[in-house]
Amino acid sequence: MHALYMVLIDPFVQMVSAPDLFVQTIWEGLVAGVLYALIALGFVLIFKASGVFNFAQGMMVVFAGLTLIAFQDMGLPAIAALAASLAVMYLLALSIERVVLRPLVNQPDIILFMATFGITYILIGFGEMIFGGEPREVNTKAFFLPQGSFEIPILGGFVQIQKIDVAAAVIAALMIAALGFFFQKTRIGRALRAVADSHKAALSVGISLNQIWVIVWFAAGIVALVAGIMWGARSNVSFALQVVALKALPVLILGGFTSIPGAIIGGLIIGVGEKLGEFYWGPLMGGGIESWLAYFIALGFLLFRPQGLFGDKIIERI
């Protein structure tokens, strides 16, 4: 009886008795969710356009972040470092398309998935060789990112908000808007959507698959770079981030592999659910439940919608 009370009722009593803490937890969840969503966004872009489940996305975030930091350390001004990192990401996209994707065209999905594992390994090896294994910090001042925090009085208490988190949310929103514009209004965006719909049909109207893949991997690289900067500004960039990137996977299955809004909303749901679960129910189970809670939340949703919240409806034929 007592155990049931502790699990089912006590957390809610706590929520009501300290509403400001509740709001603070939700805010932190939203912030974590934005970062998960940024990583998931890169996955979705690539999965939509090429059907590749890109396991390397998390590593690309680390790699992009470390590249930027390395360029800054060489004394380049922020804009030049940014441009140089973008160039590196473009080269990466180009070489992945040339070396990995082109020879593997038309192979089963699982083979391409495996190939992105190979890419991950290579990126880890190269990254550690060039940048070293230690965590590095992004120079936030150079990017005019605000620092410090402010407090909002709310419900008889106050909520502390880091300025950098607000900036992250704004930048994420801007980037999603930009991506939406790019997909809906530009020529290349239309080509991307065509490829996402059907490779064969796109080929038959003269869209170059190879070109589209380079573009889409480059777009994922840009998203990775932004995610790397935002993450680096909050704490620091290290190879351990790769594990955090695994959190983007439940976000993906929750939102659906092919949906950009799904990635965003999935990210927010996972972020908030995870923080609430950890804060209110975690102590009952000995803590650290963050590591698997996200997967169970996603599983719960999946049992009702096997294609994710916003994924394309699965139609099966014989």
Binding site: Q107, I110, I111, G118, E128, L299, L302
Partner: protein, 359 residues
């Protein structure tokens, strides 16, 4: 020339259905078994035994398990590492609760515990498919890994959280623990692997294996043909986790000899075994062995082989180079032969049949 079936007539149905229908194949498998049982223990050094052969056998077992699930039934799982962990912890608990019973019994029994957990986490597979399922199995990986750390009962409330392996004997010879020689451990492991491979081979060639493959090729069609999807998929999960569990118990007791178990069964282990299955060849038992050999021996070769041929390497650089080389080789093999090393083996056999007159 010498490898061909001309003149070997099959006069009964059983001989037509035999796993090794050609006499040369039967001789070949006999030679391989003789090598494994006699020559390797005779001539290999302790180092090769304990850091090449034993890991290879453990990984082969795990790879066979995952191959049954992913290669034969078409369900991608990223939780193999955790299922191996269940086997290791189950074996540890059984061993400490019933110290009188032989350890080999517990290593095999541990597989059943792992199978039960596998069935539990396999239930979503009925509704979720493809990569969605792969990510869903990560739930098993992270949840079980969390259990290994947070439930102290599993490691007998040790302060260090490590599994302690005492000496256990078979016919008076220590096979587990600090006093066991690599030869003894190797023999026990080899026997387990041979028996389980034989069982797996019979499973996949029989009715059960056919229903697995039907589900893999198209599950709706299989259902229409009267195959119960729930039973078939859960059986695949159970058998696969059984193999993984036995492999995990073997890994902890016959290879590592105890230690920090929660760390040994992390997500990288799951990925590594998936590599083995795919590099080796999906839906091929011999491929599991090839894949396990490739992935488990490659780092050892790079680590000790490169300095031996005069390429000097510092520890850190070696680590990085191994990462790059493994990654590069994975991509290379996928491009050259997406159907895995088992397919190369098949092509080789075909060439051998034609040789020396390929027309």
């Amino acid at each position: 020339m010498f490898y061909r079936e001309a003149g070997q007539f099959k006069t009964t149905y059983p001989s037509d259905m035999a796993i090794f229908p050609i006499a040369q194949d039967r001789i070949g498998i006999g030679i391989i078994l003789a090598m494994a049982f006699i020559f390797i223990p005779l001539f290999a050094s302790d180092f090769i035994m304990s850091s090449v052969m034993i890991p290879f056998l453990v990984f082969s077992l795990a790879a066979i398990g995952l191959n049954i699930l992913t290669g034969y039934t078409g369900l991608i799982s990223l939780g193999t590492g955790a299922f191996m962990g269940v086997g290791a912890y189950a074996c540890y608990k059984l061993m400490t609760i019933f110290p009188g019973v032989n350890i080999i019994v517990w290593i095999v029994t541990a597989g059943f515990f792992s199978a039960a957990v596998g069935i539990l986490f396999g239930i979503p597979s009925l509704r979720i498919k493809g990569f969605y399922l792969a990510v869903a199995t990560l739930a098993a990986q992270f949840f079980l890994q969390w259990c290994f750390v947070r439930i102290p009962w599993l490691y007998n409330y040790n302060a260090s959280g490590a599994i302690e392996v005492g000496t256990r004997t078979l016919f008076g010879i220590p096979i587990v623990g600090p006093n066991a020689t690599p030869e003894a451990r190797y023999y026990v492991l080899l026997c387990i692997v041979v028996v389980l491979t034989w069982i797996a081979s019979n499973l996949v060639h029989g009715r059960i294996g056919r229903s697995w493959m039907a589900v893999r090729d198209m599950d709706i069609a299989a259902e229409l043909m009267g195959i119960k999807l729930l039973d078939t998929k859960l059986l695949a999960f159970a058998v696969s986790s059984f193999y993984a569990g036995v492999a995990g118990a073997c890994m902890m007791f016959l290879w590592y000899g105890g230690g920090e178990a929660s760390d040994a069964f992390n997500i990288n282990q799951s990925f590594l075994i998936l590599f083995m299955v795919i590099i080796g060849g999906l839906g091929s038992l011999i491929g599991s062995f090839f894949g396990a050999a490739f992935i488990s021996i490659l780092p050892t070769i790079l680590k000790f082989g490169l300095p031996a041929i005069g390429v000097p390497l510092s520890g850190a650089t070696a680590e990085h180079l191994i990462h790059i080389t493994v990654g590069g080789l994975i991509i290379f093999f996928l491009i050259v032969e997406p159907h895995g090393l088992a397919r190369l083996w098949q092509i080789g056999k075909q060439k051998l049949r034609m040789w020396p007159f390929p027309y």
